[in-house]
Every structure is written in structure tokens, then in C-alpha cells.
Symmetry: C2
Subunit: 420 residues, 2 copies
């Protein structure tokens, strides 16, 4: 795809998120206020909300989750932005990654200097089976859903195809989960703020408290192989291969590069943005790669003028563990068929060669679907500025990447961030 | 609101729409293909779809209407655009007007030269009461819907406030319906391709055929006052004050001004774009005006450097008859409180001083909510190029305007088009 340069540069000068988790007492708007407040507090030289000229909010389906459509002006109202233009962007679980892209284009167009990009989802209202059915609407309602597919099934099909082609094992998938929980344990905003080892200990303590037999596992891998502790969802995917049902919000402040230093001496420059679409999964020739991710990645690398090996850290879309492995290949971090080896060798660990999902990823941080793409950028913001606390990577992060997937890969959007 | 100039100019070089109506056998994607084909055929020098670089699709809630989320890549696929970026824009009934604005910003950003903007909605799947409940999600699900409001009720509240303040009568509302049906009767794409007089004659013929007493009405106004022919929905609004439940799609081809003449020697230049948000209706100080419409209109006029009196024709958002009267005031065509006088005096008739809704408007052309904003532009395209057939306005249309409202006015987007 041809892709030209932007009319002018765009930088991020603030980023924040709500707690991710299950919050029965909160609506989307409450979560967005929480994310907005952390964003506002993150702006080094302060933010007058009156300077914000427009809002782009990513949201998958408040329609189905909360029976609330037309959610953008509500979000604008609740953070005091009325009468600024407020627009909802939807591309399933890539909604707020795509909202970020629209915010970038809006600033680059010259119309706005200061734009708020957000993401929200409130999923925990519905019973689990209804959440699964609601998420299935991101597949093809005419050609896939009537055949009984839901998202664990879609990604299980990709996982089994990948394992068959490349000889990967379920243990490689499990390694993704262990790594991401290790990271989530160090992220106070994460829904699962605990490692697999901590979860094992908690289960043992709970059994002891209740006077039940205390389960024993040799190690995390033994725990993850225990069908009771980690039941099968859709072979080869088990419970700990799946991201949770989450509520959450995130907010990013975008400004034109020329005025970035009014807000901070340490802006993040968005140097690459790529987006691509694909057919529904039933209509693709290959289940072991997500074509839209490859194309979006290539477009972003080309715009930024960098190569995959230049990227220091990445937040990728691990809605299921297999999705992280595919992402690391589609983005060119590893050769096709080598992503599973890389995770088993620890290359994507927090202090590995190519740290992936230092936030805990969607798996441990949580996956409020419409907020996940913007949430990824919050982690990049913190890591690049050295504000990631206990999970801060050791190296100096001058180049980072986010990769956000919608549905089974009918949408993918990739962004590249540079700190100068 | 501050609003700067766009980085570069944008023009429309193609526009088309599907038939509007109720099509039980069609899905959104089928309707979009139909609209896309008319758009493609409208490009004077021909269009290679491979030149299209991105798709922005307005859609209110395929989630609730068709249980199909993530609709943008499906639309891209069905018109052959995979793997181009495909993004859904949602702002209730303003979705495709706002999608047009995003398309404009995307071209102005420098990233794309050729962008497809579309709108779709497939509403007739659901029973009427469920459609009403689905549309109500465009209100505030926490503060309005639990009180029993649906959209006829919202606009009835505005109508009664307006009548109380300005002494307007139900007859003024009826005049909007008569005018728009007169226009729709000349629009072969309209859902109601018949005038009120034709509808009266059809009802009489049907009664005669069935051997029933043939109803007699002195004139159209007598018909509209007949509670059986035109029952009350929410006082003062009756059936013929309400736009119908519709299926439909529309498609617009946007290009950067510099390359417009590759596609046509007669492009429409988009010289003004304004968008604003507002609080939900329960939280507004005045029900007799839509503040977001006033602000969006002012922003669009300022960008285009024109005044309300310069506009030759307008397509405005008459989801209910009262909404058209408010629109003509909010846009500055008439003073506050004079919109109802203007329609009674025929000023907004097809060959009046300021023709409004020559297409038949949402009332007669139909209101597939996510497609309506783009559909308005199709009418402007045809009128400005002298291709509107029997409903072509007599005057030379060098400046025209569209006005697209989301919900009760939490969103409004206005565009101005110039033919040079």
C-alpha cells in the first residue's frame, strides 16, 4: 500500500488509565473520568482541559454491553469537554488503537493542535456466556457465528494450525501466560496483579483455610497442566491462555509537535502509524499469521524509517497467548515459526532481548476491549519515560511499538513511538 | 471554539446511494455494495477501486440491529478494498456525517489522496418496538431511558416547548411533512416516493377495492388531522411527523483537491466542516434550539468564509418535522421563532427562497440512521451538478449545506460544498 507522510508531526504529552478489573458499581463514564484524571496528572507542565479541541474515543460495543450508544458526547461531557467535537471509533478490540490513528490524522490535518484520544469498555455487567456471545459479533455474523464460532474457538483454530505447521507445543503458549503474569504482578493497574506462582500459593492458602486437601504442583508448568486449575476452553487453549473479561479506560493527550514543549520537555513522538484490514477468518488462506498485522507493521516501519530490530520494547495484542506469538512474528521480531521458540528461550521476557508486554499484556493487565489499544500506549509512555516502577526495563527505550488487533485480525493497527 | 484551516483542500468526485426502504432479504453489506456501485458509476472519468486508500464507514448500531460488530472491514471486503484501512465512525444518527468529516481530515493530513466515505444501517430486521428501544440507546441510558423516554418523546418535548414559546401550531409541523413528501415523490431512491396527496388517493383506492367506505378528506391538512389516517405518536407529533424505519447505504469519494480533475471536471469542493457535542437533553437549558447545531454551523461557515444567506440549498436532519424547523433556525436561515413561519410561507419549498430537503429529507427519502448523513451529500451532489431529475431546483447551486444530527443533538455536524 502506498502511504505518504503526515502533513506535520504529532507527539504524546500525557497518558493515563483507570484501574483495569471488574467494577460492578461503575459505568464507562466513571472509568473514563478515572483514566482522564491520571492522564491530566501526567502532563509535566500541566493541562488546562479547555485547551483540548476534540475527543476520539475507542469503544467496541457499549451498545451491547451497557445498552448505551452515542457514547462519545457522554464521555466528552463527563470530562468537561462539551461542546468540543466527540467521535466514537470502532474496530472491535482495535478500537482505541484506531482512535489513536484518527487523533494523529486530525492533528496532522492542521485543524487541531490538541486532541484527546481515549478508550473505554465496561464488560462485566453481563454474564460470561453473554460476554462471549457479544464478543463473537466481532466475527462474521453471517458466515462464522451461525457455525458456532466464538473467540476462543477462532484463536484455538489459529493455535492448532500454528502448532501443526511449526511443531510448537502447548507449553510455549503457557510460557506466554507465565511471562505476562510475571509482568502484571508488578503493575498496580493490572486486573491480575499476581504471578502464576502467587496464584498457586493463593489457591493453596485458600484450600488450607477451608480445611480442604491442599493441592501440590511441582512448578508453574505443572499447575498450568492441571485440568482442574487450568481447564480447557477450546483445545489447545486453556483458561490461562485467555485474556479476562474486563472493565477499564485509558486516555492519551496528542498535540502537534511544534507545541509539544508547552506541555512537557519529554514528549513521545509518534513517528509511525499503520493500519490494515482483512477478510473474516473463514476466508483466509493461512491461519498461522495475521496478514493485517504484517501490513500494518510494514506501513508503520516505513513511515518511521526503522526496522523491527530497532524496536526496544513492544506491547502486542495477546487476547490469547497464541496471538502474542503470532504478533512477534508478524511484526518481524522473529522469523515465521520462531515466535514460540523465542518465548521459550525468554527473549520476550522483561529483561530479555525484546521485552514484550511489560504491562502484563491483555492477559494479566486485563482486556477491556475498546480500551486496550490506548492502554498499551500508557505502558509505552511509562516505560519510555522511566516511570514504570518495579517493572521498568533496564535499557534506555528510545523506540517502542504498539500492536492492536480487532477481531480475528480483520483490523490491525501498529504505532511506533520515539523518544529523542 | 478555535478552528484552524485544513492543511489542504478536499473535494468530492463521486457519490451514490442504495435504494432506501425496507429490504428483508438484504444485509448491510448488500446495501453498501449497491451504494458503492452508484458512486463508482457517478465518477465522470471513471474510478479504479484500487486507487482507494482507506474507508470510513458511518454506522449507528449494526451491533444491536444485526448483531454484527466490527463492520468496517466487512464493508471494505465486499467492495473489494481489503487490505485497506477500514474504520467505523459512530455518533448515532450523525455517524456518516461525522465519517465524512474524518475522511476530510484524513485527506487533509496528507496521508491519503483518495478516501471512500460511506454510511449504512439495516433497521427493518427488528420489530418496531425493538427498533424504538434500540434508537433510544442514543439518549442517556442512565438518566433518560429509565424515565421512559424514546425518540418520539424527546422530539415531542422539543416541539411542545417550541410551540409554547413561539406560538407555532401543529399545522406548521404538518407543512414540513407535506413539503418533504412532495419532494420525495420526485426521488426514485426515496422510501416514500409519493406525496401526501398520492398517499390519500392510494388509501381511497384501496378502500374502494376492498368494498369498504371510501374516506374523504378536503385536502392534505384534513388528512393529516384525521386521527385514524395520521395517529398521534407523542403529542404534538403524529405518524407523519416521524421519519420511517429504513434500510440503506450511501457512498462518497473524497480526494485531495490537487488531483480532483483526474476524476471529474466538475468536482464539489468541501469548503466548510463543523462538528460540536452537547450534553444529553435532560441537562440542557433550552429545548427550542439545538446548541450543537448552532456551533457546528458557525464553525462550518467560518471555515468556508460564507454566511447563512449565501447557501442556496440545504439538506437538514428532519428525523421529526420539528427538527427541520429547529435546523433552519439553528443554521441561521431564519431568526429564532421564524422557522415555522418560513415553512408555512413556502420559503423552504423546492422552488422557494431557500429550498430545504429537496431529496424528501429523512421523512420521505427514509432514515437508515447511520447512512443518512452521507445520503444527504448524495442529494447535494446531484443538485449541484444538475442531475436531480424532476426535483432539480431551478437556480444554479454554487453553495450548499448538509446538517446531520446525532441523538437529541448531543452531536451535530455541518458541511458546506462549493461548485466553482
Amino acid at each position: 500500500m502506498t502511504q505518504r507522510k503526515l502533513g506535520r508531526g504529532v507527539a504524546i504529552v500525557g497518558a493515563g488509565m483507570s484501574q483495569f478489573g471488574a467494577f460492578p458499581e461503575k459505568a464507562s463514564r466513571d472509568l473514563f473520568v478515572e483514566g482522564f484524571q491520571e492522564m491530566r496528572d501526567s502532563v509535566d507542565k500541566g493541562l488546562d482541559p479547555g485547551d483540548i479541541e476534540a475527543l476520539y474515543i475507542g469503544n467496541y460495543s457499549s451498545d451491547l454491553f451497557e445498552r448505551q450508544g452515542h457514547t462519545a458526547p457522554i464521555m466528552a461531557d463527563w470530562v468537561g469537554l462539551t461542546p468540543r467535537p466527540a467521535t466514537r471509533i470502532e474496530d472491535a478490540c482495535a478500537s482505541s488503537g484506531v482512535a489513536l490513528r484518527q487523533g494523529i490524522l486530525a492533528v496532522a490535518s492542521g485543524l487541531y493542535d490538541v486532541v484527546l484520544v481515549g478508550g473505554i469498555e465496561k464488560m462485566s455487567n453481563l454474564p460470561t456466556a453473554q460476554v462471549t456471545d457479544t464478543l463473537a459479533t466481532a466475527g462474521d455474523a453471517l458466515y462464522e457465528i451461525p457455525a458456532g464460532f466464538t473467540f476462543p474457538g477462532f484463536y484455538a483454530a489459529m493455535a492448532s494450525a500454528y502448532m501443526a505447521r511449526y511443531g510448537a507445543t502447548p507449553e510455549a503458549l503457557m510460557r506466554v501466560g507465565i511471562k505476562n503474569h510475571d509482568n502484571g504482578a508488578l503493575n498496580p493497574k493490572a486486573q491480575f496483579n499476581s504471578s502464576i506462582a502467587q496464584i498457586m500459593a493463593a489457591k493453596q492458602a485458600s484450600a488450607a483455610r477451608k480445611g480442604r486437601p491442599v493441592p501440590q504442583w511441582a512448578d508453574e508448568m505443572a499447575f498450568l497442566h492441571d485440568e482442574r486449575a487450568n481447564p480447557s476452553i477450546a483445545w489447545p487453549l486453556r483458561l490461562f491462555d485467555c485474556s479476562p473479561i474486563s472493565d477499564g479506560a485509558a486516555a492519551l493527550l496528542l498535540v502537534s509537535q511544534e507545541i509539544a514543549r508547552r506541555f512537557t520537555d519529554d514528549p513521545l513522538h509518534i513517528t509511525g502509524s499503520g493500519q490494515a484490514s482483512d477478510r473474516a477468518l473463514h476466508d483466509r488462506p493461512d491461519l498461522t499469521t495475521i496478514g493485517a498485522a504484517r501490513m500494518a507493521g510494514q506501513a508503520a516501519y516505513r513511515m518511521a524509517g526503522v526496522e523491527p530490530q530497532d524496536i526496544k520494547i513492544a506491547e502486542v495484542h495477546d487476547c490469547f497467548t497464541i496471538a502474542e506469538i503470532l504478533a512477534t512474528e508478524d511484526l518481524g521480531f522473529f522469523e515465521p515459526g520462531q515466535g514460540h521458540v523465542a518465548v521459550e528461550e525468554g527473549l520476550t521476557a522483561r529483561n530479555g532481548l525484546k521485552p514484550v508486554n511489560t504491562s502484563g499484556g491483555l492477559k494479566a493487565k486485563g482486556h477491556p476491549v475498546g480500551a486496550s489499544g490506548a492502554g498499551q500506549v500508557v505502558e509505552i509512555w511509562k516505560q519510555m519515560r522511566g516511570q514504570a516502577g518495579a517493572r521498568q526495563v533496564a535499557r534506555d527505550v528510545d523506540l517502542a511499538l504498539t500492536h492492536n488487533v480487532g477481531g480475528t485480525g480483520q483490523t490491525c493497527v501498529v504505532h511506533i513511538f520515539e523518544r529523542r
